[in-house]
Symmetry: C2
Subunit: 188 residues, 2 copies
DNA sequence: GCTCAAAACTAATGATATTAGTTTTTAAAC
DNA sequence: GTTTAAAAACTAATATCATTAGTTTTGAGC
């Protein structure tokens, strides 16, 4: 048959566009196939079913986040680096709501590649926090905290949970500021 | 036919149990019907299809969260109240992962009842924050921040994203402490 | 030009949601 | 107590989707 020249990359590209434009739930093998002018079973030549598509989207999202926050933090340290990382993360979630959602719904169940991608992100955050001279345990708690803040804010924002007409950037800035202030060596 | 005595309440009860036990995605009309010893179409007598079930789960979750955090904050103020609310919220998410997920996937699109339930929760948090004597705008930013923290931590925890064997309660406590410290009147 | 693996296809199956229309039960109205 | 009518269950049918099996065709390498 016409041999349309499909490969995994092209399928995932289409899936990512669809997810961002119409939501992750709109990504079905049927909708993907139609968009690629192919019949659904053909997609199995390139990816492992719908689950495979979801996994690939999650992986792409995690790697893109990693690349962005790494780039954002280049040449910066401490507060500046944290702020830059948080901003980059949040920007990604806003620009790619579908991909971002995919990164959250991931199974991770014994999937080393996916876990590794996630760990890369954690490692970037952790390395910045290392600059504060925290102890090992303190640094881990701080990493968790920062993750929770960024993820919490980004996902609520993506869900449209912040209805009020009040500057979101300012809300995020204040939250980060409070967190950063708490990183300074405690003496009370 | 045998008239099994079903009503909306019973259907939602079953859906909630199923969601918590096997995940929200396991809640299908087919699985629900089987559990209730009924054929799938019968469910339409009580709820508006699968979307209706999901909406009902979200509503139940929001109301339960509201009830729990309200109860938790009774007789407390400021830091103690915030900590109690945060703990109650997080406990709910852990005890009812399926319901909690349902509360996040809600559409909210022009659904006044759902929006009202969400606003109740926000109002509880806001009223505690009012005790800090913040200005109007400051209080709104703070409400957003606290929501992000609690939701972020709870959902990452629910997703099993915190792999390390390090005390989660302690991580959460520290995060809250930093946030609370940032609420004190600024003078620098 | 042959060969063969890969990429597309058709056909079929099974799960699901949903709608339409039917039967049966129950409870209220008389 | 009988009638009636709404509600709750059903059966049957349709449509969408994912997935598997098996088939055809293409195109690259020999």
């Amino acid at each position: 048959m016409p041999r349309i020249g499909l490969d995994a990359r092209a399928v995932i590209d289409a899936a990512a566009e669809l997810a961002d434009a119409e939501g992750l739930d709109a990504v079905t093998l049927a909708s993907l196939a139609k968009r690629l002018r192919v019949k659904p079973p053909s997609l199995y030549n390139h990816l492992d079913g719908l689950e495979g598509v979801r996994r690939a989207l999650a992986l792409r999202a995690l790697r893109e986040i990693d690349a962005r926050i790494t780039r954002a933090a280049v040449g910066l340290a401490k507060d500046e680096a944290l702020i830059a990382i948080a901003a980059a993360f949040r920007t990604f979630a806003r620009e790619h709501p579908g991909l971002y959602t995919a990164s959250l719904r991931a199974p991770d169940r014994g999937d080393d590649e996916l876990a590794a991608a996630g760990n890369e992100i954690v490692a970037v955050v952790a390395s910045v926090l290392a600059g504060y001279g925290l102890g090992n345990e303190d640094a881990l708690h701080a990493t968790r905290g920062l993750r929770a803040i960024i993820h919490g804010f980004a996902s609520l924002e993506a869900a449209g949970a912040f209805g009020l007409p009040l500057d979101l950037d300012e809300s995020f800035r204040r939250l980060l500021r409070a967190f950063i202030a708490g990183l300074q060596p405690r003496d009370g």
